[in-house]
């Protein structure tokens, strides 16, 4: 029984579960900010892809991972600003805007990637982040692979979860965001700045999702592919529901999805007899099950997805 805990395959699975949950965790964390402020962020997928591309390109051009990282966050935030212009100021349908932004980013990244690297050339690569060396700590069964086998980005992400929890659940900023999301008119009466708060929340959402996307290119693989996020932004929307829009809740939900992805990657290498494609769809199928089981909209902010009223809002 103890032997399985120290088995290298099992250790690899644990480590990969954490690593693979990071992109969706960060995107979902971004979603928490947007949705708590009352904006439905269907654009998470596009924000991730934008961050994924910007992170790769700027790392490739500058040779510095930190430059790529910063670019991913800035570009993600800018996509958030774009979503905010439509969803908040222009009061457009938030679902349609989100889908349009996702398609726009998919087209733009593909266009720019082809401009930068002509077809037929060698696939451009960068050197991704390397796992930190914790010495003997990494050899502790279970805890070693879970906690001490990752790159700096993973620890930064977990730090951001903690920070988000403090900001959203233990500070007046979080109360402001919630008030704005529950009842914008009442929030205005209280002297809160609804429009400003929503913009900041959506841009924070973009920064975090952009960082999550950058994980795929500059931490996990070191390359960029068209539509590399492959629906993870939409999975993050499901994680928001499963995690009840709470930073801690979405950590648990993201780990579940990370484990599903790690499991399918591991199973691909083993002679299980299960078709490859059945393994690949595991995270997507899990999302469907989660949505069917936990879809109740209870706990959603009252004004989520509603355009702001035209009067009585500041």
């Amino acid at each position: 029984m103890m032997s399985i805990l120290t088995d290298p395959v099992f250790a690899g699975f644990l480590s990969a579960s954490v690593r693979l949950s990071m992109p969706i965790l960060l995107a979902a964390l971004g979603g928490v900010f947007a949705e708590r402020s009352g904006v439905l962020n269907v654009g998470l997928e596009g924000m991730m892809l934008a961050g994924c591309f910007a992170g790769f390109m700027l790392t490739f051009l500058s040779g510095q991972l930190s430059v790529g990282l910063a670019a991913a966050m800035v570009v993600g935030g800018l996509v958030g600003l774009l979503l905010g212009c439509f969803a908040i100021t222009l009061r457009a349908n938030q679902v349609v805007v989100g889908i349009a932004i996702n398609l726009l980013v998919a087209g733009t990244t593909a266009f720019l990637f082809r401009l930068a690297f002509r077809a037929g050339a060698e696939t451009p690569r960068i050197t991704p982040f390397k796992p930190l060396d914790f010495g003997p700590l990494a050899d502790i069964p279970v805890l070693g692979p879970l906690l001490f086998s990752h790159d700096i980005l993973t620890y930064a992400a977990l730090g951001l979860v903690l920070l988000s929890w403090v900001v959203l659940c233990r500070s007046t900023i979080g109360l402001t965001v919630s008030a704005v999301g529950e009842h914008p008119v009442a929030a205005t009466t209280l002297g809160l700045y609804v429009i400003r708060t929503r913009y900041l929340a959506v841009m924070a959402s973009g920064v975090l999702a952009g960082l999550g996307g950058a994980f795929l290119s500059i931490s996990a693989t070191g390359l960029f592919l068209d539509n590399m996020t492959a629906g993870r932004g939409y999975i993050a929307l499901a994680i928001l529901i499963l995690g009840r829009r709470h930073p801690v809740g979405i950590v648990a939900a993201s780990l579940l999805f990370g484990a599903a992805e790690a499991l399918q990657l591991r199973a691909q290498l083993m002679p299980t007899g299960v078709p490859l494609q059945a393994l690949i769809v595991l995270p997507y199928a899990l999302t469907l099950v989660v949505l069917a089981g936990f879809a109740s909209r209870s706990g959603a902010p009252a004004s989520l997805g509603q355009p702001l009223p035209r009067t009585g809002i500041r």
Binding site: V42, F86, L90, R91, A92, N93, V95, V96, V97, I99, A100, I101, L103, L104, A106, G107, T108, A110, F111, R114, L115, A230, G231, Y234, I235, L237, A238, I241, P275, L276, Q277, A278, I280, V281, Y284, A285, T287, L288, L291, A292, G293, A295, S296, R297, R310, T311
Partner: protein
């Protein structure tokens, strides 16, 4: 709140109703703006945008073959686009056309291979029916998840797209792979089981007739039938529709079924008309482009057909533009998405201006 409308606001409300919401003007403005951004991008690459545009449309509209290719590309965009448009009319955000096209395509090839040898007058309709049924079934999964469990169809249909594409990939690598073929594809359809070619020397197949038929039928149904009225009522206000005795659940499920059936039909026409077998890359994102087509066509079947034709021409010309001038074809995908953003931006802008004018001209009615 009763707002006495001032003349200025009246005029704007009229503009909004007549020109923005109903006519194609806002679509044309959105197109012009999106093309403008595209032209700037081409210019920044050091290419003359007018030349790029000329090359593009010369390739897609300037020859019999180009026109035929544009018409061929119109077929899946229009069929899936009309399905999505009907969904949107019922208030259903079904973005699962991509997966439904794949499911329709594999059903077509399966029936075509299984029933090979039987009279084509029976098999060809059976293939189309199987594609529509399979697509409708796939779409209904999301419908049931929404109606029974309250699961958001936006996320479920996207997830089902990935599941469908990988499921089809499994079938093409396994049970349905053509015997002896190294490629992931089904057997070639027998000659009599392909859609007939309409214009000799081109690839234009009878699928375009199907599109015309579906467009007219959908337009008539949507605007002149009780069913279409119910669909629109549910989309406008489900609560009012329920009070009026309309079966909202049934109509919502119908919206899923229609979108799935029409997208499945798109898969049928791609397999039976273009590829003559099911392949792994049946659709390069037709289902997603069709969403934009549906929005640009103002979710009216006739409008969708026009938007589909335009986007088909852009897509067909883009590869020539890429090879002749080095402008990446992905530019077209950008322009397509920009069209939607400009479209919704404009509608919202007009509403906002109208509101501002109303407030300025009739201040005594506030509060």
């Amino acid at each position: 709140m009763t707002v006495r409308t001032a003349p200025g606001a009246d005029a704007l409300a009229f503009l909004r109703e007549r020109l923005v919401a109903q006519n194609a003007l806002s679509g044309l403005v959105a197109l012009a703006l999106a093309f403008g951004v595209g032209a700037l991008l081409i210019l920044s690459m050091g290419v003359n945008p007018i030349e790029a545009c000329a090359v593009l449309f010369q390739a897609s509209l300037g020859s019999t073959n180009g026109l035929a290719e544009t018409a061929i590309r119109t077929v899946p965009l229009a069929l899936a686009g009309i399905g999505i448009a009907l969904s949107f009319r019922a208030g259903v955000f079904n973005v699962g056309a991509e997966g439904q096209i794949f499911i329709g395509g594999i059903a077509t090839a399966f029936v075509g291979v299984q029933l090979a040898g039987a009279p084509s007058a029976i098999v060809l309709p059976a293939m189309a029916a199987a594609a529509m049924l399979a697509g409708a079934f796939w779409s209904s999964i999301a419908g049931v998840l929404k109606l029974r469990f309250g699961a958001d169809e936006l996320i479920t249909t996207i997830m089902l797209n990935y599941v469908a594409i990988h499921f089809v990939s499994y079938l093409l690598h396994g049970p349905l792979q053509a015997p002896g073929s190294p490629l992931a594809q089904t057997e070639r359809l027998a000659r009599e089981l392909r859609l007939p070619i309409l214009v000799p020397t081109t690839r234009l197949h009878a699928g375009i007739l199907l599109v015309i038929l579906v467009t007219v039928a959908a337009q008539v149904w949507l605007w002149l039938s009780v069913g279409g009225f119910r669909l629109r009522s549910v989309g406008h206000n489900p609560r009012a529709a329920r009070s009026a005795g309309i079966n909202v659940t049934g109509v919502t499920l119908l919206a899923f079924v229609l979108c799935g059936a029409l997208s499945g039909l798109a898969g049928f026409s791609e397999v039976a008309g273009v590829h003559r077998r099911m392949i792994e890359n049946l659709s390069p994102g037709f289902g997603y482009t069709a969403i934009i087509v549906a929005l640009l066509g103002r979710t009216s079947p006739l409008g969708v057909l026009m938007a589909a034709t335009l986007f088909a021409a852009l897509q067909i010309g883009s590869s020539t533009m890429e090879s002749a001038l080095g402008v990446p074809g992905a530019l077209i995908a950008m322009i397509q998405a920009l069209v939607v953003l400009f479209l919704i931006g404009q509608g919202a802008l007009f509403t906002a201006i109208g509101h501002l004018l109303r407030r300025r001209t009739a201040p005594e009615t506030q509060r």
